[in-house]
């Protein structure tokens, strides 16, 4: 996808003006938050599980070279071919070359964020391969021509009504009914034959198992297995940070991932793959290619973003983020939206083109609280802001405003006078209605929301009166 993080404020303005977006986001994030809270409450071992998960990830990152070599050796022994790609371009080229060598015409794909990150669509197009998305949400956005807006639910920005319209227009046998069950049935009919007839299947992996050379996919739809079993060739593209030492270490994460992501104890389908089809097997791919992708992960190992490599891509941080809930995933203009995206995007594509992202955060800390691997997202966002400042990136306007604030804040009398005057001014604007619908020179704030009427007097004024 084309990154548009540099025009974050334009994106936000557009998102806020879109009436159905807010409806879609509210319906979905509310449900996901409630379900997560319920399933975590029913899991008294959660705190220990989270601590264990964090420790396993830290241990694995500390010994990443060892585990990657071990994985490579075991995967090759299982019959897979293993490739390494330092950049998205290298990863794309590897995929394109495999597709060309196979003479492939169609590829079914299981959603993976890494695939989005490297631009897998482009890689397939370069090889002249038709791409068929099989995850329901990815199918929806492929038909709509949209980029994903959430890492677990890429079609979160669409309402049921919009999906119904889309399927009616694009499916061969759309259903008459427009309830969700019928819509899902329509997609099932549409995709069945495509599973069976594709030349190549493409997936990511949620985990790599170092000591067996296996990789793991989790889905609720069962599309990973349906996608990767019939075609002759299966290509896996996966980030190097997905590795864990053993099967039993993976089990720790499987308990957390689904709980954090959608509020269930385990995903419906969890599959451990090991090599291509064996002698005598009746199904499965003959060729298995695993592409290990770096894309700045090895850089992150040696700076303050290292803890971000613990991320298991559950999406909980965005489901609980007030900024995400207001603007949706597209406004971030990058593959990874929400709090984790605001850390990853600058790390992977540079801070210059994404400088608004670390600032699109209220530092309320909900994201870190719900993160199943305890990533200090707010600390990292704050550190990115500091880095921006050190690198002289803020606009002259911001610098000027900060300087003005500095002058005020170091002179208490002046500060009190200033806040007293603005308090009075805002109360005048509210005219006793409890809210302020427009503020001169601050239209950007009030165009899409009201400002609450301030209390009578500043904190200091009230404090003096009550003492």
């Amino acid at each position: 996808m084309k990154q548009t993080s540099h025009q974050f404020s334009e994106n936000v303005t557009r998102a806020l003006a879109e009436p159905t977006l807010k409806i879609a986001l509210d319906r979905t994030t509310t449900l996901l938050r409630t379900r997560r809270a319920k399933v975590i409450d029913a899991f008294p071992e959660y705190a220990k599980a989270r601590e264990t998960a964090q420790k396993i990830k830290d241990h694995t990152l500390d010994n990443l070279g060892h585990y990657l070599r071990q994985f490579e050796e075991n995967a090759i022994a299982s019959g897979a071919q293993v490739y390494w790609a330092a950049t998205p371009a290298e990863a794309r080229k590897t995929v394109t070359d495999i597709c060309k060598a196979e003479g492939a015409k169609t590829a079914t794909r299981v959603k993976s964020m890494l695939g989005e990150e490297i631009g897998i669509g482009e890689a397939l197009a370069d090889a002249g391969v038709e791409r068929i998305e099989t995850d329901l949400a990815e199918h929806i956005i492929q038909l709509a021509g949209d980029p994903p807006s959430h890492i677990v639910m890429p079609a979160m920005h669409k309402t049921q009504e919009q999906v119904a319209e889309l399927f009616a227009a694009k499916h061969k046998e759309p259903s008459e009914e427009q309830d969700v069950t019928s819509l899902v049935g329509s997609a099932r009919r549409e995709l069945r034959a495509k599973f069976m007839n594709a030349d190549i299947s493409i997936s990511g992996a949620n985990f790599l198992i170092a000591d067996t050379g296996s990789f793991v996919t989790v889905t609720n739809e069962g599309n990973a297995e349906l996608t990767t079993t019939p075609p002759k060739t299966h290509i896996v593209t996966v980030g190097i940070e997905k590795i864990v030492p053993s099967l039993k270490h993976a089990a720790v994460f499987l308990r957390l991932l689904s709980r954090a992501a959608i509020g269930t104890e385990i995903t419906q389908y969890t599959t451990f793959f090991n090599g291509p089809k064996r002698d005598g097997d009746r199904d499965g791919p003959e060729n298995l290619h695993i592409v290990l992708v770096d894309n700045h992960r090895s850089d992150m190992l040696s700076d303050f973003l290292r803890p971000m490599l613990r991320c298991i891509r559950c999406g909980a941080c965005m489901n609980h983020c007030p900024v995400y809930a207001a603007v949706g995933g597209h406004a971030y203009g990058a593959v990874y939206p929400g709090p984790m995206g605001s850390v990853l995007t600058p790390a992977m594509t540079g801070l210059k083109g994404s400088k608004d992202l670390p600032n699109a955060c209220t530092l309320n800390g909900r994201c870190r609280e719900v993160c199943p691997v305890n990533i200090p997202l707010t600390d990292m966002l704050r550190a990115l802001r500091a880095k921006q400042f050190d690198e002289g990136m803020p606009t002259p306007m911001t610098k000027w405003a900060l300087r003005l604030w500095g002058v005020m804040a170091t002179r208490p009398a002046l500060y009190r006078f200033g806040t007293g005057v603005s308090n009075m001014a805002l109360r005048l604007l509210a005219r006793g209605r409890g809210k302020i619908t427009s503020v001169p020179l601050a239209g950007g704030w009030t165009r899409t929301r009201d400002l609450p009427e301030p209390e009578a007097g500043t904190f200091m004024q009230q404090y003096k009166k009550r003492r």
Binding site: Y269, F272, N274
Partner: protein
């Protein structure tokens, strides 16, 4: 070559962090699994399995049968109750094929729109109500994914408490792995449209489990 460059960067970044005994450090992290997984004593492994498999999120149904020989009759009842055609995609495993399936058309491979399949699970996991399938020449993958109705046979004695127990049971080394190990928990579902839960997304919409008690 990218491989060496990536590994060199990683090793440099980790120079002072690497564990001296990696295997021991990794094992220590998971030494006390009961601290971090859902435990269910005094509930029995069987009761826990049934409770989870039939829960609102897993949506399977469970029926006890006294012996494997009772399976064809039980399947016949299922087919009659659901008014399905008497055709079964039957996993080509001796323990299933040698049963008496007269009155049914049986096939050993699932068609694209197969209505019903009967397969044997190699184990079950009580903690989550999951079934474990390992691929083998007589246990292909698609039979568990293509049918609309998935009927699963599992021996009561092969219900294990946790996923870790299944790993131990089948072996945790590289050599012990089959091409795939499918851990299946209920039916195919999706929440991709407004997070509303719907069944029968791509895989089975109905799952019925026969628990053989012998």
């Amino acid at each position: 070559m990218s491989r060496d460059a990536i590994l060199r960067k990683i090793d440099n970044a980790n120079a002072v962090r690497m564990s001296s005994d990696v295997a021991a450090a990794a094992a220590a992290l998971i030494a006390e699994p009961d601290g971090y997984r859902a435990t269910f004593a005094p509930q029995s492994v069987y009761d826990r399995f049934v409770a989870k498999a039939t829960s609102e999120t897993v949506t399977a149904t469970v029926e006890d049968i006294a012996s494997l020989e009772a399976l064809p009759e039980a399947v016949a009842a299922y087919i009659a109750n659901n008014e399905l055609v008497p055709r079964i995609a039957l996993q080509p495993r001796d323990s299933l094929t040698e049963l008496n399936w007269s009155g049914f058309e049986t096939v050993d491979q699932a068609q694209m729109n197969e209505t019903l399949a009967v397969t044997f699970a190699d184990a079950a996991i009580a903690e989550t109500g999951s079934l474990v399938f390992r691929t083998a020449p007589d246990a292909p993958v698609l039979l568990n994914f293509l049918p609309l109705h998935h009927l699963v046979v599992v021996r009561r004695s092969s219900i294990l408490p946790h996923m870790e127990d299944a790993f131990d049971h089948f072996g945790t080394t590289a050599d012990a792995q089959r091409r795939s190990l499918n851990v299946i928990t209920g039916t195919s579902g999706t929440a991709d449209i407004e997070a509303k839960n719907v069944r029968g997304a791509h895989g089975p919409r109905f799952m019925h489990i026969y628990c053989v008690t012998d």
